[in-house]
């Protein structure tokens, strides 16, 4: 979205922050419990209404919290430091300084001040501030349209009641839709395409016109991956940026720019696909959606419960469970989605590390 500025000062008038009396501060100088001052009550301010009375020397006006400061007053003294001496006169036992008990007319925002920056999702308090300024509509970046394709002759829709031997239901597309939504995107299901480069190319080509990003959860076999690469390479220039990343899991990832549309070919294993999409796909969707200041991920510190092996030059994403301040790695095959559902979060073993020792303090990014 674009930055939004205040159309006028906020709150827009000098306002009392306490229940009490609007006064001229100088009239209270030197007063104390032993030597109170006396002020004549010239009237009362009602909430939400213009003051019908001014404060002059030796006078005070009764104020509710949030009321408009009357002309002539420069402070509000709390009711606790006053008492009625006789009808129409109060006794004041504490001095106030100019500005005490008041919020200035432009103290919450000056006219023209930036209320909300560009590039950040609106938070609750931002919505409150915009409402205070009377701004009930803002120009925002459109949610990027992200089309998700699944490929593979073995893949059938999730609502398939009975599987034939060798068939698996499409787990990745539903999970990707949730991650795309979390990243501010608008997921569109492109469906399941059979292992055929021609069919995939036709489906991708049609999607190019309606998508800001295309995601393919590619087949898991070498043949299926080759077909994905072939189909993507025919879509448009400049084409494939890279095919294969030094990430585990997630090595067989394909990244391409096809006629201006970013295309991500994810690994066929659902776990690998979701790990890679979190690392690469979600930041891309945010970027395309104009979110330059993404919200922070929840991270906790924990100590590794056991050694983690890795290889230099490869980034490892290791799922962990948390208990008692310890991060216990959940090991298993890339093919197993249950590793992800059992985990509380993940640890990254960076490219330059050959592994992390048991007891090392690590950042665990939490799944939510």
């Amino acid at each position: 979205m674009t930055p939004v500025t205040a159309p006028h000062p906020l709150p827009g008038f000098p306002r009392s922050t306490v229940d009490g009396y609007a006064v001229r501060a100088a009239d209270t100088y030197g007063v104390s419990d032993g030597l109170p001052g006396y002020l004549e009550v010239a009237g009362a301010v009602r909430m939400g209404a213009e003051p019908g009375v001014a404060v002059g020397p030796g006078t005070a006006v009764s104020m509710p919290t949030g009321g408009v400061l009357p002309p002539g007053a420069d402070a509000v003294i709390m009711v606790e430091y006053t008492q009625e001496a006789m009808p129409g006169t109060i006794e004041v036992t504490r001095p106030v300084a100019p500005g005490d008990g008041i919020v200035r007319a432009d103290e919450d925002a000056a006219a023209g001040a930036e209320l909300v920056p560009a590039g950040r999702p609106l938070r609750a308090q931002d919505l409150g501030m915009l409402a205070a300024a009377g701004i009930t509509a803002v120009t925002v970046h459109a949610r990027p349209r992200v089309t998700v394709f699944s490929t593979g002759d073995e893949v059938v829709p999730p609502d398939t009641p009975r599987l034939r031997p060798g068939q698996v239901r499409d787990a990745t597309a539903s999970a990707l839709a949730a991650l795309i939504t979390e990243a501010g995107g608008d997921p569109a299901q492109g469906g399941i395409i059979r292992d055929d480069a021609g069919a995939l190319e036709a489906a991708l080509r049609a999607a190019l016109h309606t998508s800001d990003v295309i995601v393919i959860s590619a087949g898991s076999s070498v043949g299926a991956r080759d077909e994905t690469a072939t189909a993507v390479s025919r879509l448009g220039a400049p084409g494939i940026w890279c095919h294969g990343l030094a990430i585990r899991p997630g090595k067989p990832t394909l990244l391409a720019d096809c006629a201006g549309v970013p295309v991500i070919g994810l690994p066929g294993n659902p776990r690998s696909a979701l790990v890679v999409f979190r690392l690469i796909g979600m930041p891309l969707v945010r970027q395309v959606g104009g979110c330059t200041r993404p919200p922070a991920e929840p991270v906790v510190r924990a100590r590794l419960e056991r050694d983690l092996a890795s290889a230099t030059g490869r980034l490892d994403v290791v799922q962990v469970r948390l208990h008692d301040g310890l991060a216990a790695p959940v090991f298993g095959l890339s093919a197993l989605l249950s590793i992800l559902t059992a985990a509380d979060g993940y640890v990254i073993v960076p490219e330059e590390a050959t592994g992390l020792d048991r007891g090392t303090e690590v950042d665990v990014t939490l799944y939510r």
Copy 2:
């Protein structure tokens, strides 16, 4: 939601995790580059189809990653460790153990295993696991209906183009709706009620029947707060639990149970109201919505840039900005919403502390 269990084993059949050949592991024992073994290729498994061929002694079947393991085989050897010796015969240069290159039929989930626990919002990988199991509908807790009232003669709707002196637009209701949604609730706007205990009581009484939780952002003056308490006290037993909390900002908070409906009376200052609603209202909405395992808040560690004063027995919520690993407190009046919009997060000074020294390492909960 209720826990969901697997209706059948997943993936449901023994599956190859590599491209290669299904074999009897014993046929590969002792082979090496210098002394390869030879196996007759009896056929090929196609993706998504039942194997049309079995593996017997001395034979192998060509396998794609993800294919069904044929009868008789107990391992899959990677294609990289084989080569075609002559048409129909492969040379094997590495031994495999039983189970190598295979995911068992129930390795991702056994029949009856819990796929998703109760009381936790569904994460992306949970949706994937449910899809894999063919579960496309689950029973979930209804979103609690949370009705939000604003009170105050000075409060006008956010879309009011021009304010008369003393009027302020309702900033709190919009911000509360965002926090209620984040906590899994369904916010309903009860509107702005004038400072009149009878009018407020009538509005609250009508909302009791349609709400799971009622939130009142009360007027800021003592009189308005008294009227809120009066109206709430007439709604039903057991009534008001407490009126006043040892929290800063947020002292004039009212909590009640009116005929089984939790009622929260928030302070009139928008900043105080939002601080209290995060601490008390959001956990309540989650609880009422059946979310017993809420997602973690994003927290970062930082060092205080300056001393924070507090009082024993009072919990202080201090907004901070983050820079260079430091948390810089954003001070200002409770009436100022700009403190919240300027902040990156907040630090809690607990009841037992009299303050926190500059340089203390603190947890900063991030606003998002």
